[in-house]
């Protein structure tokens, strides 16, 4: 079964299903390829960027060490209106392209050309906007505050930036609470209208549209989904689906089977690999995983493989999904970041050891997060490779068995360490939820206010309180005095 859009409205994309465990909403392996980009073997994940960069990872490290072939970008990260320059055109729209950076999105963010880009309006996860959306605009949160983004503005942004995959605007609440049926109906109606508008406006055939499927019951959004299937699938304008809830898939199977061959991208925020496995079995092809950046910031090194390693007497009981490298037991450990059973071949594991990461976390050196990002992205990458191999070589039973075993070998949740680490670092103010965002922002105000800072003021890695904070402050004074300037 192959969906080949080469003769359709999206000539740039090709999605090939190599093996499906059954027709419909079930696990499958495939290959998603965009002209000029490295193909993405599915099931897989794409990295989530913050302001166009995978947090803590410079483009050279991304290319060499991250082993990800896709990058999620949020338009709200690029369209802030600085107080003194309220009228300015967002700089990203003026970026020039080169053979190495063939689109404005690639070029502005120095993203390697091999990387597939996905553009959506909001960050993942998005900060809920107090004022909500209107009939022709969504609320977005930029580094200078909330502002509204109209459907027209968003269309021109997509035309200008030319992402490989664009997600049309959806009327979402970005809260965890389920909307009441009246609100849910309005979400469906608005998204339906916006999608019609989108397809009539979008002229760039290099952009593949993945239409949003809302996190509300199928029965409320069936009209919208039928329109996708009947109006935009036959024309080839619809290239894929962007699901905000994987559990809508079984309903799609029964009611809109024609949509099933499309690639399925998930904005479902699975909290653990167990949830990822469940969503794979429902038929998700491509994931975005907000927990990854958060886990690295929390000092945790992922430590699981798929399939889970064979039983061993040395490792009784459920194994942790991640290792808290800030724990003192790692202070002198020369082991690679995750257990040797995981055979992690990432740069952090082959060139460094736990003791170094532990030291860097303890000293609040930024390199600790960089190395954890490299490792954690590598572990997830291997996890998906294991899933693909299981499906390809074993089939439905093998996947089910291995998923069950994974659930018994590994603990249900990530370790507590996550919550214990101080994480008051302002740059991620938008990714951690509204309330915390507001708390973190002033810390940046101080740094930002130091316009001519030539060695005075606070450095960005500040953020610890307690005794470490004091030591740090004292140390910084020392450095300044040594410079004598």
């Amino acid at each position: 079964m192959t969906v080949d859009n080469q003769d359709s409205g999206s000539p740039a994309m090709r999605f090939e299903i190599l093996k499906a465990l059954k027709d419909g909403a079930a696990a499958r392996v495939g290959r998603l390829a965009f002209a000029g980009r490295l193909p993405i073997d599915t099931p897989n994940f794409i990295a989530i960027t913050s302001r166009g960069a995978v947090p803590h990872i410079t483009p050279d490290n991304a290319e060499k060490h991250l082993k990800t072939t896709g990058a999620y970008m949020a338009l709200e990260d690029f369209i802030e209106r600085p107080q003194q320059y309220l009228k300015r055109t967002p700089p990203i729209y003026q970026a020039s392209t080169t053979p190495k950076h063939p689109t404005r999105l690639h070029s502005f963010t120095a993203t390697p050309p091999s990387v597939t880009t996905i553009l959506s309006a909001r960050r993942l996860p998005a900060v809920p906007a107090p004022m909500g959306n209107t009939t022709n605009a969504v609320s977005v949160f930029t580094s200078t505050g909330f502002q509204s983004l109209t459907t027209t503005e968003y269309h021109s942004a997509v035309e200008a930036l030319r992402p490989d995959i664009a997600i049309p605007l959806a009327d979402l609440t970005h809260t965890t609470t389920t909307p009441n049926s009246k609100r849910a109906l309005r979400m469906a109606e608005r998204t339906d209208e916006w999608t019609v508008e989108w397809f009539s406006a979008l002229s760039n055939s290099n952009v593949s549209t993945f239409a949003p499927v809302l996190p509300i019951p199928y029965s409320i959004q069936w009209e919208y989904i039928s329109r996708l299937a009947e109006d935009y699938l036959p024309t080839g304008q619809l290239a894929g689906l962007a699901l905000y809830d994987a559990d809508v898939l079984p309903d799609l199977e029964s009611h809109s089977p024609s949509l099933l061959p499309l690639p399925r991208l998930a904005f479902t925020n699975p909290p653990t690999p167990h949830h990822i496995l469940r969503q794979i079995s429902l038929g998700i092809d491509l994931f975005t995983l907000p927990f990854l950046n958060q886990i690295s910031d929390a000092g945790l090194a992922l430590s699981f493989t798929f399939p889970a390693p064979p039983d061993s007497k040395d490792m009784p009981g459920p194994q942790p999904l991640a290792i808290d490298l800030s724990h003192p037991t790692h202070a002198t450990s020369l082991l690679p970041l995750s257990p040797t059973t995981t055979n992690c071949a990432c740069y952090a594991c082959t060139s460094h050891h736990r003791a170094y990461i532990h030291h860097l976390l303890h000293a609040r050196e930024m390199l600790g997060w960089t190395l954890l990002q490299i490792h954690n992205h590598a572990v997830i990458s291997s996890f998906f490779a294991g899933v693909r191999a299981t499906i390809a070589e074993g089939g439905a039973d093998a996947l089910e068995q291995a998923t069950k075993r994974f659930a018994t070998v590994y603990e249900a949740d990530f370790p507590e360490g996550m919550a214990e680490r101080p994480r008051a670092r302002g740059y991620q103010f938008k990714s951690v939820g509204g309330g915390e965002g507001k708390r973190n922002k002033p810390a940046w105000g101080k740094l930002g206010g130091n316009e001519d800072g030539n060695g005075e003021g606070k450095t960005e890695e500040r953020g610890g309180e307690e005794e470490d904070g004091i030591v740090k402050a004292v140390e910084e004074m020392a450095v300044e005095e040594k410079e004598g300037r």
Binding site: I92, P99, S107, Y347, H359, H362, A478, K482, E483
Partner: protein, 422 residues
């Protein structure tokens, strides 16, 4: 050609158990070149280092977000770690268990460590220097602590640095108290003797002396003589960059280098501004370190041959050129070259003070700039065109020659370069 070959053949070399110093070229031996600038090859336990050199400061065994691999790619072969910081974290016990700082940070090139004394004195206001050592209150719990020359060396032995510094009695050069200044100088000599006696690994680690004496040139000369008598494999000029006038700084460096032997490396501590580096090289210094290039990167500043540019300024928001035209660093080099990232000023502006990545990119660029500046100075010395290099450097930095800093004009005139000559 022939001259070069002859000079190559006549390299003079100094060897000590953990160091080899090979003088490759010297400005002063040529008629056209009258400065004291030198080009040399320093061989340390973790490999060869070309001098003159700028050494980036990886304070806590990490260069501000760069991976050791990225640091290596800037051609850095010798960086600094701070003994005071590593003594606090991860601490001596951990360093011993791991097997030293090279192993800790996965850095297979050379490391230089300071004694830890400077940090204590300058940052802990309650520190108190006695003949025994530096007394201070622990920043952790306020308990009284003591850093002795023996303890500093023991820590540096645990770190395993290729170059260790003696504990010295540092006071600001501008201190008007002559008696205290002399006491500090003489105590530093006595502490060197204690450091030498405490040093357990002279076969694999080099201990450098530090010349003190404030701005008093006679006291500096006296210190040089006393320190030289101890015959350390390398010599540092300390106590500078503490707020003294640049004229005074240059006089001290010149007074010291005049007396120093040709065949030992000379390290001026705490120097990092490009002008300071270039003038100090002309005055005969070989090695420099400073946190300024990496620290200023974290405030959004890019060092370029035309001066320091603050990437946070709005004019860079839509500037799609490289951080510095013509720079060969991975951020700036032309995109068709190997390892080029194609980073623009606009992208750095976009993320300055917002994502750590912007700081990492500017750190990468700034470290590259500093190392490349010294590499080009070295080439100029070897090719007998160092004065022309110095003139070009200042012309790039100050389009209007009437703005040349007078301290630099004067210091360079003292070694035969007339910056204002047309």
């Amino acid at each position: 050609m022939w001259a070069t070959a002859r000079r190559m053949a006549s390299h003079r070399t100094f060897t000590s158990p953990a160091l080899k110093f090979e003088l490759v070229a010297q400005c002063s031996v040529r008629m056209t070149c009258t400065t004291r600038a030198r080009a040399s090859i320093l061989t340390l336990p973790h490999g060869i280092v070309n001098l003159p050199i700028f050494m980036p400061v990886a304070t806590q065994a990490s260069l501000k977000g760069l991976t050791p691999e990225q640091l290596e790619a800037t051609n850095c072969r010798l960086c600094l770690n701070n003994t005071y910081h590593l003594g606090l974290k991860p601490g001596q016990e951990v360093l011993d268990a791991i097997g030293g700082a090279h192993k800790l940070q996965g850095w297979n090139h050379n490391i230089l460590t300071d004694s830890g004394g400077f940090q204590m004195v300058s940052l802990l206001k309650l520190a108190n220097v006695t003949e025994e050592g530096v007394r201070f209150l622990s920043p952790h719990d306020g308990s009284p602590m003591l850093l002795t020359p023996e303890h500093s060396i023991s820590l540096q032995n645990s770190i395993g640095s290729d170059i260790m510094m003696q504990l010295d009695d540092v006071i600001v050069t501008t201190c008007p108290d002559k008696v205290r200044m002399r006491e500090a100088m003489e105590r530093s000599v006595r502490w060197l003797d204690r450091c030498i006696a405490a040093h357990k690994k002279p076969e694999s680690q080099n201990l450098f002396c530090i010349i003190q004496g404030g701005l008093d040139l006679d006291m500096r000369r006296e210190c040089v003589r006393q320190m030289l008598a101890r015959d350390t494999p390398g010599i540092a000029i300390g106590g500078l960059s503490g707020g003294e006038a640049k004229d005074d700084f240059c006089k001290v460096v010149a007074a010291c280098t005049e007396l120093l032997p040709d065949l030992k490396p000379r390290y001026v501590m705490g120097i990092g501004y490009p002008e300071d580096l270039v003038v100090s090289v002309a005055l005969g210094a070989d090695m420099f370190d400073c946190v300024w290039p990496t620290r200023t990167a974290r405030f959004g500043n890019a060092i370029t041959k035309h001066g320091v540019l603050n990437m946070k300024r709005e004019i860079y928001a839509t500037d799609f050129g490289p951080i510095e035209d013509g720079c060969g660093c991975p951020c700036c080099r032309p995109v068709d070259q190997e390892g080029a990232m194609g980073v623009t000023r606009a992208f750095v502006h976009h993320n300055a003070a917002k994502e750590t990545v912007a700081a990492h990119l500017l750190t990468l660029h700034n470290v590259w700039y500093q190392l490349d500046l010294m590499r080009r100075a070295r080439e100029a010395i070897i090719q007998d065109r160092f004065p022309a290099f110095v003139k070009e450097f200042f012309a790039n930095l100050y389009p209007d020659s009437s703005k040349y800093p007078s301290w630099a004009v004067d210091a360079l005139r003292g070694v035969g370069i007339d910056l204002l000559e047309t």
